[in-house]
């Protein structure tokens, strides 16, 4: 903010003065910005790195680095936390959620992208709500209902709960994608004698495939990382990796810190693999910007 007065002052001083002085002023700002970014990344590296180093450390207490290195914690974590079962559940839940949310979301996205009808804005808003609300707020009533119907505590409850933010997410990512496919291409297909089913099979499906792939991978990443909803609805044998990690952390002291770290590294590795796959299909911002700019009121 120091630059404020300097820059405006230079502007008032007269034309020949402006350029050199502005450059001098701009430089510290650039340094400041890059400094902040680098500081952030250093801390990020520290956060992830300390978990990684600790998971391979023999004994790490009050020193820069562990005394020695070992990979035994991974084996220990694998058996102790029954990670095979946990990873299996994680994959089952994620794939089910991806499949179901595409099945439910894509047709709705199609109608919302293509058609105008009374109440469309209301419906769109209702679809948006689950991702605008924090998961805990609707997760607690949702879990209560799921327990009431005996659905929570096992896989089906976890899948149903995770569908709640996933379906709107599919709708949100697919709607702009469908909008950019010219509706006249479908009209052309119909004029060529294709019925609704053929239009979908021969024209829409091939054109939508990249979009569906992108939104599938986004849902996958989000479901694997979703803590709150899974946490609220999972039973002992339907925990996903991130929930299992939470439980092992909150029970700290009982198990060796390093085996919890090893588990965290496995979770990280899984996410990074998914992320690498995801980034082949989508741009990084899409992973984050889940809310499309809403239609202006």
């Amino acid at each position: 903010m120091v630059t404020t007065t300097a820059a405006t002052g230079a502007g008032a001083a007269g034309a020949p003065d402006v350029r050199p002085r502005r450059r001098i002023v701009a430089r510290p700002a650039a340094w400041f910005v890059w400094g902040a970014v680098i500081f952030f990344f250093l801390n990020l590296l520290g956060v992830v790195g300390s978990v990684l180093v600790s998971s391979f450390g023999q004994r790490w207490f009050n020193s820069w680095l562990p005394d020695g290195y070992t990979s035994k914690w991974y084996g220990e974590a694998w058996t102790e936390f029954a990670l095979f079962q946990v990873i299996k559940v994680t994959l089952e839940v994620s794939l089910l959620v991806v499949g179901l949310s595409l099945l439910i979301g894509v047709p709705a996205a199609y109608v919302l992208a293509r058609r105008n009808f009374p109440g469309k804005r209301t419906i769109y808003l209702v679809f948006l709500l689950p991702i605008l609300m924090p998961p805990i707020t609707f997760g607690i009533p949702l879990a209560t209902v799921l327990y009431k119907f005996g659905l929570a505590g096992h896989l089906s409850g976890v899948v149903l709960a995770n569908l709640v933010p996933s379906v709107p997410f599919v709708i949100l990512t697919m709607t702009p994608f469908i909008e950019q496919i010219d509706a006249r291409i479908e009209s052309a297909a119909r004029m060529c004698g294709a019925g609704l089913r053929s239009v979908f099979l021969h024209v829409l499906a091939p054109l939508l495939l990249p979009g569906m792939l992108a939104s599938a991978i986004l849902v996958l990443v989000r479901t694997v990382g979703m803590f709150e909803l899974t946490f609220l609805t999972a039973g002992p044998d339907s925990q996903t990796l991130v929930v299992a990690l939470y439980y092992s952390m909150s029970a700290a002291g009982i198990r060796a810190q390093q085996s919890v770290d090893a588990m965290a590294v496995m979770y990280t590795a899984m996410m990074v693999v998914l992320l690498v796959i995801a980034l082949r299909y989508v741009n990084p911002t899409q992973l984050v910007a889940r809310v499309k700019e809403e239609p202006e009121p």
Binding site: I185, S187, A188, R190, M191, C192, G193, A194, G195, S198
Partner: protein
């Protein structure tokens, strides 16, 4: 599934209407299309011409009226069962299919035998002269080539009716002329029945057997090109058909087939179109090319004026002149006039049309122009 290839003798649109939430995009269109005819729907954007075409295609449900193919009602059929072909403004080619697959698509949908599909596809591709591009994707073709593919895709089915929605408006000027000839050639050689939508009056005049002029969702005039060109039904049609000079005037006297009009000392004699009574507000219309400059012996409708703006347009000049009373006159001439020249303009009374003004008293050409440009659903 029935294929629509069976011919018909006439297609009737009876009171076809389409509303969009309280707004009339098209109202009471009555039209009979004979087999083999080339009909152009003409009008500025927002006039309802594309709406009419989409209703005919079945892509847009009607909100009133009916469509009959001889004695068969077809407005309740989905588009794929009407058996019409359609060419879209932006071509609407399937981007993931080769030229060949695009053209063959309709035949495949009809589950025709493989060799027939191949034969007819190749034939259609040859017809639009794209043999060496048959394996390419649409994205690899130029605009003109894409348009040919779109046409081939529509005609390969031998449709009973071909619908064209401003097919040339995305092409540059030179290609547009070429494709115009091409479309007319195909229409004649294949014996197609064509409904063609355009906002370009020149395109419509040169292609169609019959023109339908629409404005704000209503039919203004239906007739052959000659009639629309020389005798527009009202001043709105005249405005659209290239009568650039539209003057709000008052009738002084009307005798049989001539009428004298005047405004602020600017007097003209013209040919009345419709009822004009002495004292009524009218609009006098004349084309720029019907305004003569310094013609020897011209006495009727001779007006002195000063040239103000000149645009060079090849063999002719387009110019704007102002009379002593401040009336602006658009004209075209092969004389080398220059800004500041004092000239005498003259107009053949036969070519000067006098239309009744709109019911609203203040509605002059300016108000009309605003009406024509009113935003709405395109076409």
């Amino acid at each position: 599934m029935t294929t629509g290839t069976k011919a018909f003798s006439e297609l009737r649109l009876e009171g076809v209407s389409r509303r969009f939430g309280g707004h009339d995009a098209l109202r009471d269109l009555d039209l009979t299309i004979e087999a083999g005819e080339f009909v152009a729907l003409l009008g500025p954007s927002g006039c309802g011409k594309s709406t009419a075409l989409n209703c005919l295609a079945g892509l847009l449900p009607l909100t009133g009226g009916s469509i009959w193919q001889d004695e068969r009602r077809i407005d309740t059929l989905p588009p794929e069962r009407r058996g019409f072909g359609m060419v879209f403004q932006n071509y609407a080619l399937f981007p993931h299919m080769s030229v060949r697959a695009n053209v063959a698509f309709g035949l495949r949908m009809r589950r025709l035998p493989k060799d027939e599909i191949r034969r007819r596809t190749e034939e259609a591709i040859r017809l639009v002269r794209l043999e060496e591009h048959a394996g390419k994707l649409p994205g690899q073709l130029s605009g003109g080539q894409q348009q040919r593919v779109a046409i081939a895709r529509a005609v390969v089915l031998e449709p009973s009716l071909v619908l064209m929605d401003e097919p040339l408006s995305n092409l540059d000027a030179k290609l547009r002329l070429e494709m115009r000839t091409e479309i007319r050639r195909l229409h004649q050689s294949l014996g197609l029945t064509t409904v063609y939508v355009t906002h370009d009056q020149e395109e419509a005049l040169s292609l169609a057997d019959r023109l339908v002029v629409l404005r704000a969702g209503r039919v203004q005039q239906i007739g052959p090109p000659q009639e629309l060109h020389t005798r527009p039904a009202n001043w709105h049609v005249a405005d659209f058909m290239g009568y650039r000079n539209l003057w709000s005037m008052r009738v002084q006297a009307a005798v049989d087939d001539t009428v004298a009009v005047e405004r602020d000392g600017f007097r003209l004699v013209g040919d009345p179109v419709g009822p004009v009574a002495p004292g009524s507000e009218v609009i006098a219309a004349v084309r720029p090319e019907d305004v003569r400059v310094d013609q020897a012996g011209a006495t009727t409708n001779a007006v002195p004026a000063e040239i103000e703006v000149v645009e060079y347009q090849g063999r002719e000049l387009a110019a704007e002149a102002v009379t002593a009373t401040g009336v602006r006159v658009h004209l075209r001439t092969d004389r080398r006039v220059a800004p500041g020249d004092r000239v005498t303009l003259s107009m053949d009374p036969q070519r000067l049309l006098v239309f009744p003004g709109d019911s609203a008293p203040a509605a002059g050409p300016a108000a009309g122009a605003a009406l024509l440009e009113e935003p709405g659903l395109v076409g």
